[in-house]
């Protein structure tokens, strides 16, 4: 028996196939955007971090602020200057 698709049914199939293709393309793009880290890169990163730690003298504990600071022009004795 020969199956004949109606035009509307065909359009639905084409749309679903297109949708599946689109979704998998996005997945692939997403996957490609996530770089793979190899052992060589990890070793380089660890060496870099070791140098930074040595430079800092340890592990900084950071206190974040956004504290306004007033400024003025002064001479070398911290006396205010006028222009």
């Amino acid at each position: 028996m020969k199956t004949i698709l109606k035009p509307t049914q065909t359009l639905v199939y084409i749309f679903v196939a297109g949708l599946i293709f689109f979704i998998f393309s996005c997945k692939k793009a997403e996957f490609n955007n996530e770089p793979k880290v190899d052992n060589g890169t990890m070793e380089k990163a660890k060496a870099y971090i070791a140098k930074q730690m040595e430079k800092e003298g340890g592990i900084p504990e950071i206190f974040v602020r956004n504290q306004k600071v007033n400024t003025m022009w002064v001479n070398d004795k911290n006396e205010p200057l006028s222009q």
Binding site: F63, N66, K68
Partner: protein, 317 residues
Amino acid sequence: MQSNFTSQCNYDLPAYCNLIQYSRVFRCTNVDSLSGYLLQFEYELSWNNNVVQNDGFNNLTEGNIEIVSDVTNNVMQTLTLTNTQITDLGPDPNPSFPNNHIFRVKFFSDNSQLVPRGYINGDVTGTYSVKLSANFVTDCKQGGGPYYLWLLPVTTYGFTGDRGNDPCKRNEKGWVTPAGSGGTDTNYLIIAGYNALQNLTCGYNSNFIEPSLQEVEYEVDGSNYWLPMINYTASGFFINGTKYIRWDDFAKTGTLPSGNHVIGVRYRNWKYNTSQTGWPIPNSSNACHNIGYFDPNNSIYEYSSYAYEYWIAVNIP
């Protein structure tokens, strides 16, 4: 990095100047008297003059620290910091200041300037306050005596005593490895947890309470659109593939666009309220996080919760 834009030299004051963070690093040795804290602090300002380390006449950009007794008001220790890092983040996007660039200026103390732990954590005499100020020199000098932009002293808060030992009121350093030359020669950045190399058992004082996790994000070219960095070393745990890392985990950005870019990285602490299994993703029900310290006695202080780092002209291959 020194800036290459032309100073206006018209005695304008900065459009703004903020103390954005300060850090303490406990340095220990086998000799107790040689142990103590290294201090660092950083300003951000928008200005139409270059900030330079040395104006060519031996006038230096300097940071100043005063440790003051809260009991007697006596100045117990003063430090002058000439170890400076000056970073030009580029033009200020605020159209009201078309000639301004945004600078970050950071000061570091060195091993000859250790602060005794009693001044940070308190001792039998009482507690202490830490006051920070700075003098900036520019490339505007045209003869005559030296002159400076003086950043008036401000007293730190939350830095000393018990407040400083709450992991949700501070951030541990996240270790960023830049991409491109000088870093990993890759087209992505890597960040590691605060003790990723697991070789610093003596990096803290005895009061240290560790955070559970650090939340890490990044942005490109000042977009202020923060994307999660991805933990790729916590295999088998809930936080694997998320933006949360443990003290020895690593996380990466997505692939970055090639060319020169300014990459921003930010991170903040989280601490579980109770013991957890499998390192679940933290939320406001099971953990606290750094929301920035708010001083109820002085509501004018704005606060921020993340520590920010910027990598200038990162040359992505």
